[in-house]
């Protein structure tokens, strides 16, 4: 892959629901091979940004390119992990089956998954430590296990760019560590990972790039450069508890607990 070309390039992207802008004129570059967190308050449009890049919502203006081409031409290069609660976990299917769905894109229409897909899925499950759950009905999984199954489904896609929507939501600390380890592993393998994230505290530890989003992009770049108190204030409207050890928040009592809740 061309390393100079950004993995994801978003230009002038505006998304509106009934003339109410959810994302305003977003310009965003995600360099190839980085692990980027997307943070912002509730309703900042984090999920919508990912969905717009993947063509899941209609955009009012602008475009998003994956390695220089529209997403529709680059589907094979992209894996998407939606929020865990976006599907019905009572659906009659097994863990292995769900993971194999990650291969459907490569299979295309009509072709059915076979032994190769099964083996790939088992390997992906092994990587997320869910190997022994392969034959389980998905309704029997805990929240963290569900998340890991979704992650395995993305891994099996063998993509270059991964989009993950709140992979740590409702996940216990151990699972969170395991997932972060996997994401960093992906980055080391040269993949690009974009993660919608809620917990500001862990941003410097987990990610090397960060985008601060609140309808517009407030700041985007390497964590060391853009993850500053002033940028966070601009993003969260001043009422934020910033906890980094170095920078002490001015108005801790105003902290939005949900935003800054620790693990």
């Amino acid at each position: 892959m061309n390393t100079i070309q950004p993995a994801v390039q978003v230009t002038d992207l505006t998304v509106a629901y009934r003339e109410k802008p959810v994302l305003w004129d977003i310009d965003l570059n995600v360099p190839a091979g980085v692990l980027m967190g997307v943070v912002g308050p509730n309703g900042a449009g984090k999920t919508t940004l990912i969905r717009a890049i993947l063509g899941l919502v209609r955009v009012s203006a602008g475009q998003a390119l994956i390695y220089g081409r529209p997403y529709a031409e680059q589907r094979r290069l992209v894996a998407y992990v939606p929020q865990r609660n976006s599907v019905d976990w009572d659906f009659p299917t097994s863990v292995l089956d769900v993971v194999m769905m990650g291969r459907y894109g490569a299979l295309g229409w009509f072709r059915r998954p076979g032994r190769r897909e099964r083996e790939q899925a088992l390997m992906a499950l092994e990587r997320v430590g869910m190997h022994e759950f392969a034959r389980r009905q998905i309704s029997q999984l805990s929240g963290g296990q569900q998340q890991r199954v979704f992650l395995a489904r993305a891994l099996v896609q063998d993509a270059h760019v991964y989009f993950m929507d709140e992979p740590f939501q409702g996940v216990d600390a151990t699972t969170e560590r395991a997932i972060v380890g996997l994401l960093q592993e992906l980055r080391s393998a040269g993949k690009t990972v974009v993660v919608v994230h809620h917990d500001l505290q862990t941003v410097p530890e987990y990610f090397d790039y960060v985008t601060l989003l609140n309808v517009r992009v407030v700041a985007s770049g390497p964590v060391a450069e853009v993850f500053t108190e002033s940028a966070l204030r601009a993003t969260y409207g001043g009422q934020i508890a910033f906890l980094n050890g170095r920078e002490i928040p001015g108005r801790l009592q105003d902290a939005q607990m949900g935003m800054a809740a620790s693990t």
Binding site: L54, L56, R75, D88, F91, D97, M101
Partner: protein, 483 residues
């Protein structure tokens, strides 16, 4: 036997008439009281059936198979069996009031298979064809949509019938199916305005389309084939009388061919798009992201549901189609945990309900479609109660067991707390537990007995002491490993 009747097409509906076969006399005799022996427009033999079928005994008197067929005929209240070219027609109600024959085509040559077997075959094929798309309706939370579609296709049937004048035409089937798809489009458009909720949108659209169809039938199409009763409930008993006989060779009932064709089409599509259907149903967002056009899958499913609804119209009617589409899949959902098995089990349950329903209907001499739908409901009820893992009974048993296990854990924690403390003598006495833990004495006795059996504690003459195993259980509980 009325011989050498003129053979010509009905000027109104365009259907070819064929000479009445040899059992028509027996039929007429069995039914008796031909209200008017002459069809007013063409002079053929016409008869009225009484509103109630003749008694079983009378049927037997007039002899075997013909009599049986006569019962089937009788259920269709007013019938003109004979070949006649009707110039006019009367709405059913009016016909009944005036006791005039209402026009109905009877293309009867001969009935090679005995009707009950054919009826059962049609019932089974219809049921299976309904359950397969039904599985996806249930999983996608679209059960109500099936109700909307099955009603709204009537408008398509009526309008198409005005154009082609033939109820058996494939064009009519397709046009009617298209009206089902249109209904869903209308519902979604209405819902998308965000002025009404989805359930309200469904409730607004289909009764409107259905009522237009009902009015049109009442005004323009008194032909019994389109009478409102038959539309709601169908009449499987008559299905064997409409034969599929290209170039004069009888190949079986038309309904069997129609439903069989729809079933085969459904199976082929299911085999081709199984993966896509599964993905679009489980995770539409991923399906869209992977380029699988879940919208196309959605409307494909809606199209198949509509087609099935049209096909099943004649046999089970628009209300009972819903029962066959929803009840067996809903039961299978409780019995299986894989999509493929859910499909197979629903098909099996649907076929089972069809066969048993037919038998019950034959025995009770009642509506076949009604009996089938009732059986489908019964099958669901049984699954709901007795499904091994998800049934009501299994849940209740599990809840009792969990309560017991939790009580046991609580007891263990309680004993651990007071172990080797000065209060131990009081707190750990079996006879005081009910007072301390505020449990019913009987419940305490049960919990203690169970705990003792499982080696959690030992009862040393009224004082309870934890075993090592019990201590571990208590620790585990406190660490939240049990919760």
């Amino acid at each position: 036997m009325p011989a050498a009747l003129p053979q010509h097409d009905c000027s109104w509906c365009g259907l070819p008439r064929r000479p009445v076969n040899d059992w028509s006399d027996a039929v007429t005799r069995a039914i008796g009281q031909p209200g008017e022996s002459q069809c007013p427009s063409a002079g053929g033999t016409a008869f009225f059936a009484t509103l109630r079928p003749p008694s079983r005994r009378r049927m037997m008197d007039s002899g075997g198979r013909a009599a049986r067929q006569a019962t089937l005929l009788v259920r269709h209240r007013v019938r003109c069996v004979n070949d006649a070219s009707h110039t006019g027609f009367l709405p059913l109600r009016q016909a009944l009031q005036q006791r005039k024959p209402c026009h109905r085509t009877a293309r009867v040559n001969h009935v090679p298979m005995t009707p009950p077997i054919e009826i059962m075959l049609i019932a089974v094929v219809t049921a299976v064809a309904c359950t397969l798309p039904g599985v996806f309706l249930v999983l996608r939370g679209m059960a109500l949509i099936s109700d909307a579609i099955t009603h709204a296709v009537l408008l398509g049937i009526v309008l198409a019938f005005f154009v082609v004048q033939d109820t058996g035409s494939p064009f009519l089937v397709l046009a009617a199916a298209a009206s089902g798809v249109l209904t869903v489009v209308l519902i979604e458009l209405l819902h998308r305005t965000r002025l009404v909720r989805e359930d309200a949108a469904i409730g607004l659209v289909f009764p409107l389309l259905f009522s237009i169809a009902v009015i049109l039938i009442a005004r323009r199409a008194g032909d019994t084939h389109l009478d409102v009763d038959a539309v709601l409930l169908g009449e499987l008993a008559f299905a064997p009388f409409d034969r599929f006989a290209p170039s004069g060779v009888d190949l079986g009932p038309q309904a069997l061919w129609l439903m069989g064709g729809i079933l085969v089409l459904t199976l082929v599509l299911l085999a081709l798009f199984y993966k896509e259907l599964k993905l679009a149903t489980f995770d539409a967002a991923l399906a869209l992201a992977l380029g699988f056009a879940p919208g196309v899958v959605h409307y494909g499913l809606v199209g198949i549901v509509s087609l099935t609804a049209v096909g099943a119209f004649d046999t089970v009617g628009s209300v009972l189609v819903v029962a066959l589409m929803i009840a067996p899949p809903a039961a299978a959902y409780l019995l299986t945990d894989r999509l493929s098995r859910m499909l197979a089990v629903s098909a099996g349950l649907g076929a089972f309900a069809a066969v048993i329903g037919c038998l019950v209907a034959f025995i009770l001499d009642a509506s076949i479609a009604g009996a089938m739908a009732a059986m489908a409901g019964l099958v669901f009820g049984l699954a709901w109660l007795f499904a091994p893992e998800r049934g009501l009974l299994a849940l209740a048993v599990r809840r009792v067991r969990q309560r017991q296990e939790f009580a046991q854990a609580m007891l263990a924690v309680h004993l651990l707390h007071h172990e080797a403390t000065p209060q131990a003598a009081v707190e750990c006495q079996a006879s005081h537990l009910s007072e301390h833990l505020r449990w019913e004495p009987a419940f305490v006795a049960r919990v203690v007995r169970r705990a003792e059996q499982q080696g959690v504690l030992i009862n040393r003459g009224n004082t309870l002491a934890l075993t090592d195993h019990g201590r571990r259980l208590a620790m585990k509980t406190l660490n939240g490993e049990l919760a």
